[in-house]
């Protein structure tokens, strides 16, 4: 199942550890954290879209969508940057003739950003379909409406 890196914004503390870990593991950082209006921090990286616009515009089939999600073949990349211009989230970048975007640290057990986040704000999950955001928002509303649930006993680690 295709997976993406997601961020729980209520936990992000804008420490940029994810950016630096990514940069060390992948030559350049595929995740970017910025503070919005001094009150929240948002990490942004490739959304692993199920209908990827980058693959749609790619003239050379370097970017394609397969069963494991978005795939990139650097051999076929001509460096036209159309994918960079097509991505609605601005998360693709062309560096040294190669497209850099989050690929969940290909081949590793955990993406570096997820492993390193001191606040546990990043996690890997199956890609949510379009409209997933609405679903998450509804879930938050319901949680708030139902109020505090009974607390688990102290000493048991949750997350």
């Amino acid at each position: 199942m295709p997976e993406a890196v997601y961020a729980d914004l209520s936990r992000c503390i804008a420490c940029h550890a994810c950016e630096l870990a990514c940069e060390r593991e992948n030559k350049s950082s595929r995740i970017s954290v910025q503070v919005v209006r001094g009150l929240a921090a948002v990490p942004v990286s490739c959304r692993q879209c199920e209908t990827p616009l980058c693959a749609a515009v790619c003239p050379g089939e370097a970017l394609s969508y397969g069963e494991n999600g978005l795939e990139y073949d650097a051999e076929k990349c001509i460096g036209c940057r159309l994918c960079v211009l097509a991505c609605p989230f601005g998360t693709a970048e062309l560096r040294a003739g190669v497209v850099e975007r989050c690929d969940l640290c290909q081949g590793k057990e955990i993406p570096a950003c997820v492993a390193t986040c001191p606040a546990g704000a990043l996690f890997r999950a199956e890609v949510e379909s379009l409209g997933g955001n609405t679903r998450t928002r509804r879930a938050e509303r319901i949680k708030k409406a139902l109020g505090n649930l009974p607390l688990p006993a102290c000493g048991r680690e949750n997350r």
């Binding site: 630096l20 593991e25 001191p118 997933g132 102290c154």
Partner: protein, 694 residues
């Protein structure tokens, strides 16, 4: 499709496997986070995370993540160097140690032992600090100190007088069990990021988080209640909260009766700290003061987390004392999830203090003036005589050097030019010395003034024990060889001791630890092999069978009668407040991307890329009045000096307040050297300042 986290298998990431993977402890802050260094052909080539570590659970902040850039930096000092007219001249180790020893002996003979001063390192190991202060003391002086003086000296005095000991009372992991977390003067989200995970865990369980800070920081984002107080008014806030708690009967009567002394005097002294008066002093709405007080007192378990925001003031000792009072009257101490957590700075500042690299304490905190303690040290060291008068602290040392009273200064792993207040005075003082030797991994701004520079090994290149802020003593083994001819500080000190004619029987760190176990009761049960297992031991660990003590004060306090002392303190103004000549209040602090004086992080390419230069946070309203735009270059001026900075407009600071990170040279050119009377810690947090445009 719902978004749910997939199960993470872990443990090792990267190309780490047992063959090339070396466990180590981060050299930056005092959390003591564990991770693995991946080695390739004898060089540090990668980092892997350590999910099994009890403190950071595999996570790592941006500084730890970029530590390779520091380890492998071309600026690493490789050879001993002597300063000559023609500049730095490389010399051999024998010649270097001979030079250092002869200069120290010269000063000793001509002007007596108190003409010498020794600045120990909160970054070096316990063994290194122990031997360092032993050398100083065997030469006859107590002029030995370390940069703890600049950060948590007020913790030692404040908690020392109330609880009997100045250490963090609970481990970081306990925060997840607190129902109320009161954070005052700490920006842990930036400076101790791994603490965030436990605070967030507590919040998931419904904990209330209160953050008191003049600025809105990422730590403040996690708060349920933010108290934006005027800098320097912490005692007023704490007293105000305590008054509410006492007048509403929310204090823990039984705890106060059975385990403390001094409550009635406190109650009396709090009369004038009613919420309205306190609101007037602090700028916090009285309703919020009351809310905070009730939340803290009513919680079943509550923790106070604090750091520089309250220690670095002329009222630092009082601020810490007031925190202890608050915890004591509510009984929130001595049990899991309830305690006082001073988050310390350096990776081994706790250890350096435990080892007696302090002007007034022997190893184990026996006072140098106490004949019993002195006698004990004398017999342990086989010394005929030890000085029993407290020595000069780091700020006093520099002042005395400026007056010509200190002739020779030995600096190990410290950068007072950038860490001490009033940098221009520090530089003048260093120039006046007859002899300055600096032992470090880089040519710091302090080392530039030295007569002799000795290259040191970094954390990954030597063995030894390091004590984290939660009193966890962990052992580190060398993963790499030091560059060039750099040596572990311990080896350099052994060499120096030999040249000085001091007879040390220990030959390596493990043997030094054995001596430490005999000298420091809290380390009594520590030995290298024990520390290498299970992520070390938490002191006190008085004997070899003892499992360590995560939570302090469970049964009794470390006072003579076992009872805590509630000590009333009064709000007093900072040494310097804004006035017509200097209308702004300048406060200083840290940011997440850099570390302390910056000698390491300012050499880290990727960190510099993100934060390259000294900036000042200024409120947009103030900027508008002065016609300052984002990115403008300004001069900040105080009575000490002037520094050029770049303007960053932000609502993080209130109008009238300016914030400077101290990771870049120039910040401490401005700060005042007004000291807390008891702890001698400088008032870094409050200076009167003005802005000049070019």
């Amino acid at each position: 499709m719902e978004v749910k986290p997939t199960q993470e298998k872990t443990p090792l990431t990267g190309s780490c496997h047992p063959g090339n993977c070396h466990p180590t402890i981060c050299p930056y802050c005092s959390l003591g986070c564990g991770f693995y260094l991946e080695l390739e052909e004898g060089k540090a080539a990668g980092i892997s995370y350590m999910p099994e570590h009890p403190v950071n659970e595999g996570s790592l902040c941006p500084k730890g993540n970029t530590v390779l850039e520091v380890l492998n930096h071309p600026d690493r000092l490789k050879y001993p160097m002597k300063k000559t007219e023609k500049g730095w001249e490389r010399i051999g180790w024998e010649a270097a140690l001979d030079l250092a020893a002869s200069k120290l002996k010269e000063s000793l003979e001509k002007s007596g032992p108190d003409s010498l001063a020794f600045l120990g390192s909160a970054k070096c190991s316990n063994e290194e600090n122990y031997i360092f202060q032993k050398i100083a003391r065997l030469l006859g002086t107590n002029n030995v100190d370390n940069c703890a003086r600049l950060c948590h000296a007020s913790t030692l005095t404040g908690l020392g007088k109330t609880l009997g000991t100045g250490a963090m009372t609970n481990p970081v992991s306990d925060l997840a069990c607190s129902e109320c977390i009161f954070v005052i003067g700490s920006n842990f989200a930036e400076n101790h990021p791994a603490v965030s995970r436990r605070v967030l865990r507590a919040k998931e369980k419904g904990a209330v988080v209160i953050v008191a800070d003049p600025r809105i920081t990422p730590t403040g984002w996690l708060a349920d209640l933010a108290l934006r107080l005027e800098p320097g008014t912490d005692v007023a806030l704490l007293n105000g909260m305590m008054r509410v708690i006492i007048s509403e009967g929310l204090f823990d009567r039984r705890f106060v009766r059975e385990r403390t002394r001094g409550f009635s005097e406190l109650e009396e002294s709090l009369q004038r700290y009613d919420p309205e008066t306190v609101s007037g002093i602090t700028g916090i709405p009285s309703a919020d003061i009351i809310k905070a007080a009730r939340a803290y007192a009513r919680a079943g378990t509550a923790s106070i987390v604090y750091s520089m925001g309250i220690t670095q003031h002329v009222s630092g000792t009082d601020n810490v004392t007031a925190c202890a009072d608050l915890a004591l009257i509510c009984g929130h101490i001595g049990k899991k999830g309830a305690g006082i957590l001073p988050l310390r700075g350096q990776n081994n500042v706790q250890g350096a203090c435990d080892m007696g690299a302090l002007a007034e304490f022997f190893p184990g905190y026996g006072k140098v003036e106490d004949p019993c303690a002195a006698g004990r040290m004398r017999s342990l060291w086989g010394a005929k005589k030890l000085s029993e008068s407290p020595g000069l602290t780091v700020t006093e040392m520099l002042e005395a050097a400026g007056k010509g009273k200190i002739k020779a200064l030995y600096v190990m792993g410290e950068d007072p030019v950038n860490s001490n207040p009033d940098s221009s005075q520090v530089k003048k003082a260093l120039e006046k010395l007859d002899f300055l030797v600096v032992q470090d991994i880089f040519m710091t701004d302090t080392a530039e003034h030295a007569d002799l520079v000795l290259p040191a090994a970094s954390f990954a290149e030597k063995e030894g024990s390091f004590t984290s802020t939660e009193r966890r003593v962990q052992w580190v083994e060398p993963a790499l060889k030091p560059p060039g001819e750099a040596r572990a500080d311990l080896d350099t000190l052994f060499g120096l001791a030999e040249k000085l004619g001091l007879d040390f029987t220990c030959r390596d760190a493990g043997e030094v630890l054995e001596e430490i176990a005999a000298a420091v009761p809290a380390y009594g049960g520590m030995a290298k092999e024990r520390l290498k297992k299970d992520f070390g031991l938490i002191w006190p660990c008085p004997d070899p069978g003892h499992p360590g003590t995560p939570v302090l004060h469970t049964e009794s306090f470390r006072t003579s009668d076992g009872l805590a002392r509630i000590v009333s303190v009064e709000h007093k103004s900072p040494a310097e407040t804004p006035g017509p000549d200097y209308p702004f209040l300048l406060t200083t602090g840290r940011t997440v991307l850099h570390y302390n004086a910056g000698s390491m992080t300012r050499r880290s390419k990727s960190l510099l890329k993100k934060e390259a230069e000294l900036y000042v946070e200024i409120n947009p309203a103030d900027a508008r009045t002065m016609d300052i735009a984002e990115g403008n270059k300004l001069f900040l001026e105080t009575r000490r000096g002037s520094t050029e900075v770049t303007a960053r407009l932000t609502e993080k600071v209130n109008p009238g307040v300016l914030f400077l990170p101290f990771h870049f040279p120039g910040t401490n050119v401005l700060t005042a050297d007004a000291l807390d009377r008891e702890a001698k810690i400088p008032d870094f947090k409050v200076s009167a300042c003005r802005i000049r445009r070019e």
